[in-house]
């Protein structure tokens, strides 16, 4: 299970970084989402991988899983969700105001500042 999870996290990160480096806003947004999925899985795995264990104290439980990474992931998901929504709106605004979806607002090399 560890090898599979590591592979998935690695693949998601690699795809995320590749898309993040693209020149159009939509792949960049997708790349950020993939990267945040990879990060969430990674955080989750940092509490060690256990199956079928209780996160809070239960009478007669055989063992426990670490509840803290789950809380961290939940926070990270909420924040990541809000940020993705924001960046999509911003990308749409940039598309409307700049007339194209290039991250620099133009396909021509031009001075930005």
């Amino acid at each position: 299970m560890e090898a599979l999870l590591s592979l998935i996290i690695g693949l998601l990160t690699a795809c995320g970084i590749y898309l993040l480096l693209r020149a159009r806003t939509f792949p960049v947004v997708l790349g950020l989402s993939l990267l945040s999925y990879a990060v969430n899985l990674f955080l989750f795995a940092m509490g060690r991988l256990t199956i079928g264990r209780a996160p809070i104290i239960t009478p007669g439980a055989a063992g426990y899983t670490d509840p803290l990474p789950q809380a961290l992931v939940l926070t990270a998901i909420v924040i990541g969700f809000a940020m993705t929504a924001f960046v999509i709106m911003l990308a749409l605004k940039a598309r409307a105001e700049l007339g194209n979806d290039h991250v620099d607002g133009t396909h021509e090399p031009e001075k930005i500042i």
Partner: protein, 508 residues
């Protein structure tokens, strides 16, 4: 009494919520409420400074969960110093925004308060994951503020700023995850204890996480080579927002100072001085590149943005010395550089408004209304930023250079630092002199077209710029007590055992 620690976090949050609920109300009332809140935050920050000035470290356990199980807020001298600087800077930025910028878009005041909420939280928190959350709070508020008012350039610079910060947040989470996975804690004080006792097989992981964290903070602080987002973002946003953002890069500098002294300080055993090795060279490079960027820019606001970059370099170069005198000098320089940069951002806005289509481009243009007052203020800003006597920049640089002459440092350090800081100051002086003569001396006598003419800057706007410069004068007058305080801050930072003991309780 103990609730004092959380008050600087709660006041802006509650004000922001109230302002959101009152959004239909007359603008004058909302402005009044926002200003009263910021004044209250200044008062709270000063009370907190008094409470921690004798070296006490106040700890506030949220929900009364003891550390390291719950989240703690920790107020020490450094946090109080940052809070005072932020609140005072915010007052001037907000007052300038109330002169009309806040009409350009919706919810300016709400976002401004939430920005202060995020900043105060980031300075006070004693938990790594909580620091991430407060970073996100201050970033999402800053996205809104950066885009306030809209416009092509602003949107384009905003997109870059948002995407690079989101990538930075992902790295922050990875670093926090590694820390938790290896050490089983996210409390900064507990991290300090556990990093010092880390097992050799886990050392590479801890070092990786530490350097990832350094990368994230360097991104926020705009350290070379992660600074490319800064000039466009700061130069294209509205003036009061740019003035407030003078503190934003210092949040990164604060986080670097905090983590590198507390978690990776000299007492951290095998992971000691992890960040310190990188800090000084990168900071000197940032300073040099910032000054070159300022010299090469053709717009006053871009130039100011590069000067902000150079100020981060100066501050972290002083911090990178690692001695009490060095860190103290850097912390003395911090408010000065914020106030001076904010003054120049506001002044650049007033200059741009008086020049029609030319705006803030550094080219001869028509004579501005009230050009005498603008010229004198520009001259004073230039003196403060380039570090000439008698304003605060001179004392800041003097303290930094004196700290660099410590014989305990490596032989190359004093020479490199002296050369870069002095050459940077000279370059800043020449750059600003060139800008000033283009804007003021070589102004053509022709009038602007009546169609694009704007009224001359109001006394209130000029007064705010003068007020920021007066803060620099005040820092000069009370330089002795202030530098005593910043040296005390640095001493406290270099004794992380006190922090750990205050948070974790006495240990056997």
């Amino acid at each position: 009494m103990t609730h004092l620690v959380i008050a600087p976090v709660l006041v802006p949050l509650l004000t922001g919520i109230v302002l959101l609920l009152l959004r239909g109300m007359d603008l004058r009332w909302r402005r009044g409420l926002a200003l009263v809140s910021v004044l209250g935050q200044i008062a709270l920050a000063l009370v907190l400074t008094r409470a921690v000035a004798d070296g006490t470290i106040l700890v506030y356990a949220l929900g009364h969960w003891p550390a390291p199980f719950g989240i703690v807020l920790v107020a020490d001298r450094l946090a109080a110093w940052m809070l005072v600087t932020t609140a005072v800077l915010a007052l001037f930025a907000l007052a300038y925004a109330c002169l009309g910028t806040d009409r350009e878009g919706r919810h300016f005041h709400v976002l401004f308060q939430l920005q202060l909420f995020g900043l105060s939280g980031a300075f006070l928190t004693g938990d790594l994951f909580n620091l991430f959350v407060f970073f996100e709070v201050l970033l999402i508020a800053s996205y809104g503020l950066l885009l306030h008012g809209g416009g092509r350039l602003r949107t384009r610079a905003g997109l870059h700023y948002v995407v690079i910060n989101l990538a930075g947040s992902a790295l922050f989470l990875i670093a926090a995850g590694i820390f938790y996975g290896v050490l089983g804690t996210l409390n900064l004080a507990d991290l300090a204890v556990k990093v010092a006792a880390v097992r050799p097989e886990n050392l590479p992981l801890v070092r990786t996480a530490g350097l990832l964290l350094f990368g994230v903070f360097a991104l926020k602080a705009a350290l070379v080579p992660l600074y490319l987002w800064l000039p466009a973002a700061y130069a294209n946003t509205s003036a009061p927002v740019a003035a407030l953002f003078a503190i934003m890069t210092k949040v990164g500098a604060y986080a670097i100072l905090r983590v590198s002294t507390l978690v990776f300080g000299t007492g951290a055993g095998p992971a000691a001085d992890l960040m310190a090795d990188w800090l000084l060279p990168l900071a000197l490079l940032t300073l040099a590149l910032g000054m070159l960027g300022a010299a090469g820019s053709d717009r006053l606001r871009v130039q100011t943005a590069y000067l902000v970059l150079a100020s981060v370099g100066t501050l972290l170069a002083a911090g990178g010395l690692g001695t009490a005198a060095g860190i103290g000098a850097g912390l003395w320089y911090l408010p000065h550089s914020c106030f001076a940069a904010a003054a120049l951002f506001l002044l650049a806005d007033l200059i741009a408004r008086g020049r029609g289509d030319l705006a803030d481009r550094l080219a001869p243009g028509p004579v501005m209304g009230r050009h005498w007052v603008l010229g004198v203020l520009f001259f004073l800003c230039a003196i403060a930023i380039s570090g000439l006597p008698p304003l605060s920049g001179f004392i800041g640089k003097f303290l930094i250079l004196r700290a660099a002459l410590d014989p305990a440092l490596a032989a190359w350090v004093p020479w490199c630092l002296l050369a870069v800081v002095l050459a940077g100051g000279l370059l800043a002086l020449m750059t600003l002199a060139r800008g000033g003569s283009l804007l003021f001396y070589r102004a053509t006598e022709q009038e602007l077209d009546p169609g694009v003419q704007t009224p001359p800057p109001t006394g209130a706007a000029l007064g705010l710029v003068a007020g920021l410069l007066a803060l620099g004068v005040a820092m000069t007058v009370w330089a002795g007590p202030l530098s005593d305080y910043t040296t005390a801050v640095a001493r406290q930072l270099l004794k992380p055992a006190d922090y750990v003991q205050a948070v974790m309780g006495p240990r056997s």
